[in-house]
Amino acid sequence: MNIYFHELKAYKNSTLIWTFSLIALVILFMSMFPSISRDVEVFKELMEGFPEAVRKALGLEIESFGTILGFYSYIFLYVTLFGAIQAMNIGTSIISKEVRDKTADFLLTKPVSRSKILTSKLMAALTTLIFTNVVYVVAASVIVSQVKTEAYSMKIFLMITLTLFFVQLIFLALGIIISVIVPKIKSVLTVSLGTVFTFYIIGLLTSTTGDESKRYLSPFQYFDTGYIIKNSSFETSFLLVGVGIVSVSLVTSYIIYTKKDIQAV
């Protein structure tokens, strides 16, 4: 437990900043919804005359922007992008900060097994992510209920919002495995921004091709908000791949970390 609390304390400030940023982001964008929904009404009429293929090419279907959940889905892309960076930062620093700050010798000569150290750190990371998500979901549901123009399904809203946590878990796990494999990470931010943006761009590139199999390439594509809105469920295959990535990364991280040499500074 001592490692767990130590870690929580270490993440306190950055967690608060991230959580606050996510909330600021959602409030900022959602407050623009009323004016946007009016724009959409106007545009909708114009769009009726165009074929489905054209609308598809634009990515999301325009008319969905007129609905509160549709617009929320759009801004949610940015929320997940930020959330992914947060999670990746934590994941990457979990192990690498001990190496970088040269505190590994201190921690690893204490009477705790390495897997216990990793577990405590992982739990602390999960706690901060859960904190972020809970606070975010409260703030987001308040702002959404304030700006809504019509009734919406709370269940679907929560499901969409829950995918933030899923994406964060995936990037947390990726961060951990990277920090376990790479001997010395000088700048966590470089690594996490690089990884997150790479997947984000891959996601952008694959989103409009309509090729389902390519969606597996980027975690940002695993939870299609359009699908969730339509079916009020997640896509099982992508959910499974997500779970797979997380478990494989974590198991591998445990194995590598318990067998790894901790080099002198």
């Binding site: 040269k102 505190t103 010798d105 690893l108 009477p111 901790i262 002198a264």
Partner: protein, 294 residues
């Protein structure tokens, strides 16, 4: 009982560095010196028995238990002080000490306060603001606050002023008297000579010899220095058993091993003004070990 038992321990890295086929043991209650020049493999050995790195061959036991398989259990009774100490920069000294203590399932508060007192440490400061020497003191306190049965020190004295060094050594001797076994790695011989009962000499990843300090010194070596009235032929003392023969002005000095009579007879034939016969210090013997090996 052997507190540390190292059997054919080998650690190879991709390139040359590492240790090969290392074997020695440390008995309960002794202060064991581990000595060799930089890069000889001292830290590699210590990091292996602390299970920070894993051996490529052989094994090591601490308290009779395999140091890899039982690492967390063994660590309860180990205090470790590395040569360079690094701690969480944004913590206060007291927070770090408490954090360190929280790993051991016993009350370390009393001992911690004693140690802070002895080492004269300001516990309200942030670690980041401490000087190198003061960080070292934090390291000493955090390494000893749980009253470990085995204390492992990897070149611990760097950064400590002589006064603190003395207090630190006194502290170690006190711990030793209370029953703690100490493994002390160093490249400074005088330290080892001052503290240790036995010493292992390591060179290029291999143990050269394990000796009692007293044995090493008694190894029949005598350090002889004479001052002569007249110049002496340089080859005069070049007899078997003489080493490190040097001439400086009217002073001749050398190390001698063998029948002391032969050399005394030689000296008696020269007109001398002064004579010293001393036990050589470890340094001189040690250099000698290395030269012999080359």
């Amino acid at each position: 009982m052997n507190v540390i038992e190292i059997n054919n321990l080998t650690k190879t890295y991709g390139n040359a560095r590492g240790i090969t086929d290392l074997s020695f043991h440390v008995e309960e209650g002794e202060i064991f010196g581990f000595i060799g020049p930089n890069g000889a493999g001292k830290s590699t050995t210590i990091r292996t028995i602390l299970s920070l790195i894993y051996p490529t061959g052989g094994s090591a036991k601490i308290f009779g238990k395999d140091c890899i398989d039982f690492a967390p259990e063994i660590a309860k009774e180990i205090g470790y002080l590395p040569s360079e100490v690094f701690y969480y920069d944004n913590m206060k000294v007291i927070d770090l000490l408490k954090y360190s203590a929280s790993f051991y399932k016993k009350d370390c508060k009393k001992r911690m306060n004693e140690l802070v007192e002895i080492m004269d440490l300001d516990i309200t400061k942030k670690i980041d603001d401490l000087s190198l020497g003061n960080k070292k003191k934090v390291g000493i306190v955090q390494g000893l606050l749980h009253e470990p049965k085995l204390i492992i020190l990897d070149e611990p004295t760097s950064g400590l002023d002589p006064l603190m060094q003395q207090r630190f050594f006194d502290l170690l001797l006190e711990e030793n008297k209370k029953g703690a076994t100490i493994l002390f790695s160093s490249h400074i011989l005088s330290e080892v000579q001052r503290l240790c009962d036995r010493v292992a000499i390591i060179k290029e990843g291999k143990i050269v010899t394990v000796e009692k300090i007293s044995n090493l010194k008694e190894n029949n070596y005598k350090k002889i220095k004479i001052e002569t009235r007249n110049a002496v032929d340089r080859d005069y003392f070049n007899i078997t058993g003489v080493n490190d023969l040097t001439f400086k002005d009217s002073t001749i000095s050398f190390l001698f091993r063998g029948d002391i009579n032969t050399v005394l007879k030689k000296i008696a034939e020269v007109d001398i003004t002064n004579l010293w016969i001393e036990e050589p210090d470890l340094e001189e013997i040690f250099m000698h070990y290395y030269e012999k090996e080359d």
